[in-house]
């Protein structure tokens, strides 16, 4: 081990009883900056990831939509399923309904699911919190948790369903509702979806919306590892002219752009925290250089070259950077790991867990850290710490041994 490496290590982590204040302060400040970056980027990345997960888990990665409705859909589904990269496709019908239970009305979004193929795209049974998916037949519905709660419907109760079609049919004076039985409750953990959705069979939805053999769209699940955009492109080549395939990213393009912009801004702003930590390291190293002026002179007298003396101090900046970044990585990832406990602890004191959930759409704080983000953070922290070591190093190297030895 070259002497400057050895001495740098010894000055950072002295043996014996000397507590390395300088090292601890610099390392902690770098670690805090890095941890902060990881936590913030992790949670922001989590929102994007959560949205993706929610969409994919409920609708698949790609949605086929048409200007009106899609006819002859069995054939279209078969052609989509033949496209390379497609794992499964399931047609659906959707629209607004009015439901009434014990004179209480509500206006949920209806999703009519093709029970034969929905399993190829979405594993709905994972999200059933009460009742059962198997019981869903053409006279039954499953309610989202929020809807079931607001109506106060128990499993097994009947509710009345009105469709816009009934209003359009003005010939009969009395509008007769459709009576269906509630056989289950679904909870996706996404506030928007869980608030007010009613799930029924495709056949019932077609009947309620007078679709006679048409569907509103098709959900597509792709094979793992395939690119949404590329598969969507390929699907477009087999679709009828008025239908188009959208990847989930297309559907949320604006949202994702804003999120990405916010994330970049946050990275930029929080990098200043790391920069400040680097300045702190630099000022502490400068103090060290001044304090050690006479020893630097001695090293010169012992035959050390200027370059080696510079390296000795620069390496201390690097050392602070390496240890601080590693500690920050550990701290940041740990905080991300226990983030929900932290949020719970905070909201227990300040209140407002429900508000938080409502505001952020998710009942749990999501987290998703990309390797690319980590690489950026780690590189930036190491780079800044190294730069922080360079200025003190240059000052140390410029000291002349005689003058350094003479200094008081």
């Amino acid at each position: 081990m070259p002497w400057y490496f050895y001495l740098a290590l010894k000055q950072l982590f002295p043996t014996g009883r000397r507590f390395p204040f300088f090292t601890v302060i610099s390392v902690v400040s770098v670690a805090l900056g890095v941890a902060l970056l990881i936590v913030v980027l992790g949670v922001m990345g989590g929102f994007a990831h959560q949205i993706r997960q929610t969409i994919i888990q409920t609708e698949g990665e790609i949605q086929i939509k048409a200007r009106g409705s899609i006819g002859n859909y069995h054939d279209v589904v078969r052609r989509i399923e033949a496209v390379p990269g497609v794992a499964g496709a399931s047609p659906y019908a959707s629209g607004m309904l009015m439901v009434v239970y014990q004179n209480k009305p509500s206006f949920p979004l209806m999703r009519g699911l093709d029970m034969a193929s929905i399993g190829h795209v979405v594993s709905l049974e994972k999200f059933v919190t009460a009742g059962s998916l198997d019981a869903l037949d053409d006279d039954a519905v499953i309610l989202s948790e929020g809807l079931a709660d607001s109506l106060g419907v128990p499993i097994g109760a009947n509710i009345e369903v009105y469709t816009p079609l009934m209003l359009a049919r003005r010939d009969s004076e009395v509008i007769l509702p459709h009576t269906v039985k509630v056989v289950g409750v679904l909870r996706f953990g996404h506030q928007e979806l869980d608030k007010s959705t009613i799930y029924c069979t495709l056949r019932l939805a077609q009947e309620l919306y007078g679709l006679v053999g048409d569907v509103h769209g098709i959900n597509v699940r792709i094979q793992p590892g395939m690119k949404e955009d590329e598969v969507a492109e390929r699907i477009n080549t087999v679709l009828p002219p008025d239908a188009r395939a959208f990847s989930w990213m297309d559907s949320f393009a604006d949202f994702l752009t804003v999120l990405k912009l916010e994330k970049n801004m946050m990275t930029f702003v929080l990098l200043f925290v790391v920069l400040v930590a680097a300045f702190l390291t630099m000022s502490l190293l400068l103090v060290l250089v001044l304090k050690k002026t006479r020893e630097i002179g001695l090293l010169g007298a012992l035959g050390a070259s200027r370059r080696q003396i510079a390296l000795c101090f620069c390496l201390q900046g690097v050392g602070v950077g390496v240890v601080g970044t590693a500690a920050g990585l550990g701290l940041g990832l740990t905080v991300l790991h226990i983030r929900n406990d932290i949020v719970r602890a905070i909201t227990r004191v300040t209140g407002g867990q429900e508000l938080l959930a409502r505001f952020y759409q998710f009942s749990e704080l999501p987290e998703h850290i990309e390797v690319r983000d980590l690489v950026v953070i780690v590189t930036a922290a190491l780079l800044l710490s190294t730069l922080a070591g360079i200025i003190p190093a240059v000052i140390a190297a410029r000291l002349k041994p005689v003058e350094a030895l003479r200094s008081e």
Binding site: G16, L302, L405
Partner: protein, 218 residues
């Protein structure tokens, strides 16, 4: 060329302090042969330290020539092996224990191996600090620190030791012990010694005494 361990001809050094010129050295000639012990005395401010720094190659003279064993190479690399320096202040590195401070001299040349470690331990034992090898400078007395510094100066088996008032920060008795040690070690190891001192008794123990006055030996 001479086979002198160190040879200086017409060394001059002038300092500018503000608009005052201080002519410290005005043509110093010095030749020290192998095995000699030379004491340099002089009033405070007469330029003894300035001269020693020039001899050590730590500073450059305004005029004059300096050779070590006939060679004008007085660069950092050669200094590390050719000479050992002992200062008035001990300049030990506070983060390193006594043994590592001694080893530092070898470390700067190359990564120290078993030979160097053994030599450092041996030198510490020779200066009477075998039991204190693992102690940090802060745990040692002034005299003990200076002994570590002496061991460090000898680490790379130099031909020449330059000592600038090595007893200046020590009491009479401790200082005497250090001078004895330096003289004893240089005799044992055939090392040449140039010793700057105020103390007439210490100087009297050397084989030659020089007096620096008005920038010259006179």
């Amino acid at each position: 060329m001479s086979d002198a361990i160190i040879s200086a001809r017409g060394l001059t050094k002038t300092f500018l302090s503000g608009d005052r010129r201080i002519e410290v050295l005005r043509g110093v000639d010095l030749e020290v042969g192998a095995g000699e012990t030379v004491a340099i005395r002089g009033e405070s401010g007469s330029g003894k330290s300035t001269l020693l720094n020039l001899l050590a190659g730590l500073d450059t003279p305004d005029a004059g020539t300096l050779t070590w064993a006939g060679s004008a190479d007085t660069g950092a690399k050669r200094r590390a092996t050719y000479l050992g320096i002992v200062f008035q202040s001990f300049y030990l590195i506070p983060e390193l224990d006594a043994l590592q401070n001694v080893l530092m001299a070898a470390r700067i040349l190359k990564g120290p191996g078993a030979t160097e470690l053994a030599r450092a331990k041996e030198l510490l034992a020779r200066v009477g600090l075998a039991e204190r090898a693992r102690h940090l400078p802060a745990q040692l007395s002034g005299g003990e620190r200076q002994r570590v510094a002496v061991a460090r100066a000898l680490m790379n088996a130099p031909r020449l030791i330059l000592a600038d008032e090595p007893t200046g920060n020590l009491d009479e008795q401790t200082g005497g012990a250090i001078i004895e040690l330096l003289l004893g070690l240089s005799a044992e190891t055939q090392t040449t010694l140039v010793l700057v001192t105020h103390n007439a008794a210490h100087a009297a123990n050397c084989s030659r005494q020089l007096m620096l006055h008005a920038g010259r030996f006179g």
